[in-house]
Symmetry: C2
């Protein structure tokens, strides 16, 4: 059955040229999901990641455990950043804290015509990469719930779409991902979409980290809905000053997450619990910084930022 699905995917997208190599830089849960989907559909893919995952993936393939299928997907894996040299398309999936340093590492290795998709939280990563790389960098909004359940073992909880900015390689990338069963939408207002996701992150990530509670628990507590509302107010003022049009209703988007992802702990919560560096400087911290540029206060975001720094071990 599993084999049949993979075969079906390969046949479905049979008009697509499968010689383009995708290299995932920072193959955590997000990178393994999208890289794994491409590999499963027959694209040459290399996952560059940590020793424990790479070793497991080399021995047994990448285990992709989703609601739809549970397969060992054969895919190249490496701990060496040099493997990025083969890339036609890079899925750049490192933590925001590592963006600049990793970009500097891949800059001398990357083909001139390669395309770099920044599949990262926050809204400034593409800009950071553009300062270091000459290749086309495409801001990408990721909608997926995944986790690494063990070495080389990806667990997928839901969704799996991308929104990418306008790019020369846009049509090709959309077609490749379509052949792999991943919906990709090109959006001229990708920065607005990144901000919309940022706002949800600003409302939930810090609180989930500070209290070490999942989203559904947060909103049960007196006053938290109102604090989240103020977080959105602050973000929207600053987005407006930054010339950003945030699509949809961010207030409603924030309300919905507590229901649709009630059991979810934020990535920041997981990082804090594990004593790992977290992305708060690129979430609430970004909003506070942009607010300062425009002379707009963001006291709730600022308090959440300060308190994450207070509770983090790293």
């Amino acid at each position: 059955m599993a084999h049949t699905v993979a075969e079906a995917l390969r046949q479905e997208g049979s008009g697509v040229d499968r010689s383009r190599r995708y290299v995932v830089v920072g193959a955590g849960a997000v990178g393994c999901y999208f890289g794994g989907m491409l590999a499963r559909a027959g694209f040459p893919v290399t996952l560059i990641g940590r020793e424990s995952h790479v070793s497991a993936i080399r021995h047994h393939g990448l285990r992709m455990e989703t609601r739809a299928f549970d397969e060992q997907v054969k895919v190249d894996a490496s701990t060496a950043i040099d493997a990025v040299a083969d890339a036609d398309v890079v899925l750049f999936c490192v933590k925001s804290t590592d963006s600049e340093a990793t970009a500097r590492m891949i800059a001398p290795l990357l083909r001139p015509g390669a395309t770099v998709l920044s599949l990262q939280n926050g809204v400034e990563n593409a800009e950071i990469l553009r300062c270091v790389l000459t290749q086309e960098v495409v801001p990408t909004v990721v909608y997926v719930a995944t986790e690494m359940a063990g070495p080389g073992h990806l667990r997928h909880h839901g969704r799996g779409e991308l929104v990418i900015g306008e790019a020369a390689a846009g049509a090709v990338i959309v077609a490749d991902f379509a052949a792999a069963g991943v919906p990709v939408q090109v959006d001229a207002n990708v920065m607005g979409a990144l901000w919309a996701k940022l706002i949800v992150n600003c409302a939930y990530n810090a609180m989930s980290a500070i209290a070490q509670k999942p989203y559904g628990e947060l909103v049960k507590v007196d006053g938290i809905h109102e604090l989240m509302r103020i977080v959105v107010d602050e973000c929207m003022s600053i987005a407006r000053a930054d010339g950003i049009t945030v699509p949809g209703d961010p207030y409603e988007a924030v309300r919905r997450i507590a229901q649709t992802m009630a059991g979810q702990y934020s990535s920041t919560a997981q990082d804090v619990a594990r004593g790992k560096p977290n992305e708060i400087d690129y979430l609430n911290g970004y909003v506070v910084r942009r607010g300062r540029v425009h002379g707009i206060g963001a006291p709730v975001n600022q308090t959440l930022l300060g308190l994450v720094k207070l509770v983090q071990k790293a």
Copy 2:
């Protein structure tokens, strides 16, 4: 030696009438300190408190361990609220959360001419007591660092002064405490002094509770000094709107505490750690409530309030 000090105190204040009975309602660390000092100076004192302390105090006296002395002080102790009936002066030391309920319990027992000193955190307790009691209620600002180190065992770390509001019994109370070695100052602007202390509590209590860190550790973290500055800004705007003149420089007072009490965890931190009810609704919560009355936002105080509610177990 210890005996000599007590004797000396008794002689020093020999002009004072020692028939006035002081009853401490809520004999925790604060109540035991001031009640203990009065008992040690020869005043009739009853400590009303919890079984564990009362039992130890009845058997061995109250152990007062200070830098100046370490004595077992003989003092009456009871778990029964009825013991308040003998009081000429009540030192009302319960947590703010218990003010109204405890006031209702003592109301039918208290002598008409008794005086009630509210030795409590927050600024609204005297007002709460006045709604329930017909006796004179005197707002009191407490400056003391004490803890209960065990059953009937008080440990005193520093200070030990009171500032009280203007009261008919003011002069007598000042003289009694003076005879017991406790400096008491009568201040027409006691509400300002209560606010000054409230502001320090607003800056430290919640953060210490949320991070479970002592004051000295908080201010080492990036951005915390600035958050504390905003807390003071918000409090000062609302105090002003409330017609309060806050004495001294509250910004400097907040800065100083991190140095003078670097190892201290806030009472809120201790309550949260023990899963006990805390006073946050009477600290940052009070400021937020008063701000609402005047249409003045207090977003940092509001965030701190919300996050304490998020981390508390009770």
